[in-house]
Symmetry: C2
Subunit: 338 residues, 2 copies
């Protein structure tokens, strides 16, 4: 049973394919009468336009690509959800690629994007991608494909990007702790090769600086892999007398809470905790944690809308944007004497 095509409809109705095509897309040239006649038999025969053929002829693909480095429990799921929710209201479809933080896989994903002639690429780069090995991103520009970096971005390039205002978010979080009298704050950060890590560390430092307080650089912990915290944190917490912890992501927060539980330390009685969080984990976890919201879902929506906007403004300047963040309060912060 072959697929019904416009030709079939044309033959069946003694019309030309052009008339069928125009009738189906409500072209004013076609009379009301034949228009409904065409549409009815199209429906009756279960005709569906072949998007592959349509986009091929129209010289665009109707495809948007989402490239992500990895998928864990946090952030990326809600980002995917946001992208999917937003794309459903557009004529585009989403193709997905995962790079496993492997730059070679990232190159291949981008090759596929070019071959597919996707109209836009939303990419969160691998942990190893930087200014000096991003030739594959340049290929996108050469191929005239819009590229928008989100979350894990490479700063100071002429590719547009979309992230939260990481620096300010971190500062806000630390400010909360400082305002509650905390001075010995352990800052837990991800891999420093990530720009967002560096930005959030900057915010951490800035909070101390603007408060006119000294910062012990040993109080900044960088963990390349969150699971390493299970080794580091018990030692660190027993050798020091931190009164509070700030984590730059949900994943780090998760491992932090695990370790506090293991060490029989409770929040906020033994330690106050603030995090930058997507909000999903923090809104379900007990005890509730005060967090600076970095909603993956919102980011997903924003990224999708932005890339479509960029596609529709091929000439205009495409600036990088920083999304603002809000504090979501809970009881994970206790006041202490400064």
């Amino acid at each position: 049973m072959r697929r019904i095509t416009i030709k079939d409809l044309a033959a069946m109705l003694n019309l030309s394919t052009s008339t069928i095509s125009r009738a189906l897309s409500d072209h004013p040239d076609i009379s009301e009468a034949t228009r409904t006649r065409v549409k009815e038999t199209a429906k009756r025969l279960n005709y569906r336009t072949n998007l592959q053929a349509r986009f091929f002829r129209k010289k665009h693909s109707g495809l948007l690509a989402l490239i992500l480095p990895e998928i864990n429990m946090f952030y990326n799921p809600s980002l995917i959800e946001g992208v999917n929710a937003a794309i459903a209201e557009t004529p585009y479809s989403l193709v997905m690629f995962q790079t496993n933080n492997n730059i070679q896989q990232e190159r291949e994903a981008i090759e596929q994007c070019i071959r597919w002639a996707v109209e836009g690429v939303m990419i969160s780069v691998t942990i190893n991608t930087n200014k000096h090995n991003m030739g594959h991103l340049e290929e996108l520009r050469l191929a005239n494909i819009e590229c928008l970096m989100y979350d894990r971005v490479i700063p100071d390039t002429d590719f547009p990007s979309l992230t939260i205002d990481s620096q300010l978010a971190a500062k806000k979080g630390v400010d909360i702790l400082l305002e509650h009298g905390h001075r010995k704050i352990l800052g837990i950060f991800a891999n420093p090769s990530l720009a967002i890590t560096r930005e959030r560390i900057k915010g951490f430092k800035k909070a101390f600086q603007e408060a006119g307080l000294p910062l012990n650089p040993d109080h900044i912990l960088n963990v390349a892999q969150a699971s390493l915290m299970d080794n580091i944190l018990p030692v660190l917490l027993s050798n020091n007398t931190f009164s509070s912890i700030f984590t730059m992501t949900d994943e780090l927060l998760f491992f932090t809470t695990n370790n506090l539980r293991k060490l029989n330390l409770s929040i906020p009685d033994d330690l106050s905790v603030v995090a930058i969080s997507d909000g999903i984990f923090t809104n379900h976890y007990y005890p509730r944690i005060t967090y600076i919201e970095d909603s993956g879902k919102r980011m997903g929506r924003a990224v999708l809308h932005q890339i479509i906007a960029n596609i529709n403004n091929p000439s205009k300047e495409k600036p990088s944007r920083l999304l603002p963040t809000e504090i979501v309060w809970s009881n994970s912060v206790k006041s202490v004497n400064a």
Copy 2:
């Protein structure tokens, strides 16, 4: 700067497009000399085959669709990861749709699949999809598109499906508790309109039955939404004297651990716990939980390989398969006197 096409190469090398095409795909008709000549200039000019055009001509799309009802922290992320990992080794690309457990969105997703002429659809249906409203799935069959249900499947249809052996997995989990002397076991299950829920409940019951033990039906808890547990569980646990808990998913386990923490009940001293789990959460959470592994990543891989196998065997029978499960031991189960 237009995209380089085969025509461009042909003109440039004074060859026909057919020769270019064949040279690029190593057709034996083409001499070694011109073959390398073509490939070199193709590389030099940064030529990339237009997949849209190729697949259009070849009458297949090179697209596989993944349809999922929702994306939460658990299971689906690792399923997506598994699918992505496996598809990377194939010539296919992945398009994704999310239905938000809305059957209308599911219909639209399937419409898109047909329009795109995807070659296979991997679908976990919405909570509302059942034998009597699955007409949209029949459309796939009419369109000659392979369809494979996974995880949330509709049983007793002639669509092939892939799930774990839910009944056996649940039985295994409960057996562990029974063997450790537990008799008052709280079974926590998801929405009973899901086939996997019903299967797992069957397994729960079967464990008691085969052990020749009575089962109090009140000990089976069905929660439509996991977050509702925050209201139900405290009451249930204070009105009863359960010695252990079995949860059928990670999400239910997560809310369970939350509530135990809130109630100051510890695992396994106050309550033993066993779950069916993807393994990601359970391998990072403290305290560790003994679980029956239902790895989303493995499922993702299996689903992808299965649908490709089905595509390549259009005529053959396509049976539904049940994946086996293994127990992963931890210290979340304490022996009690029966």
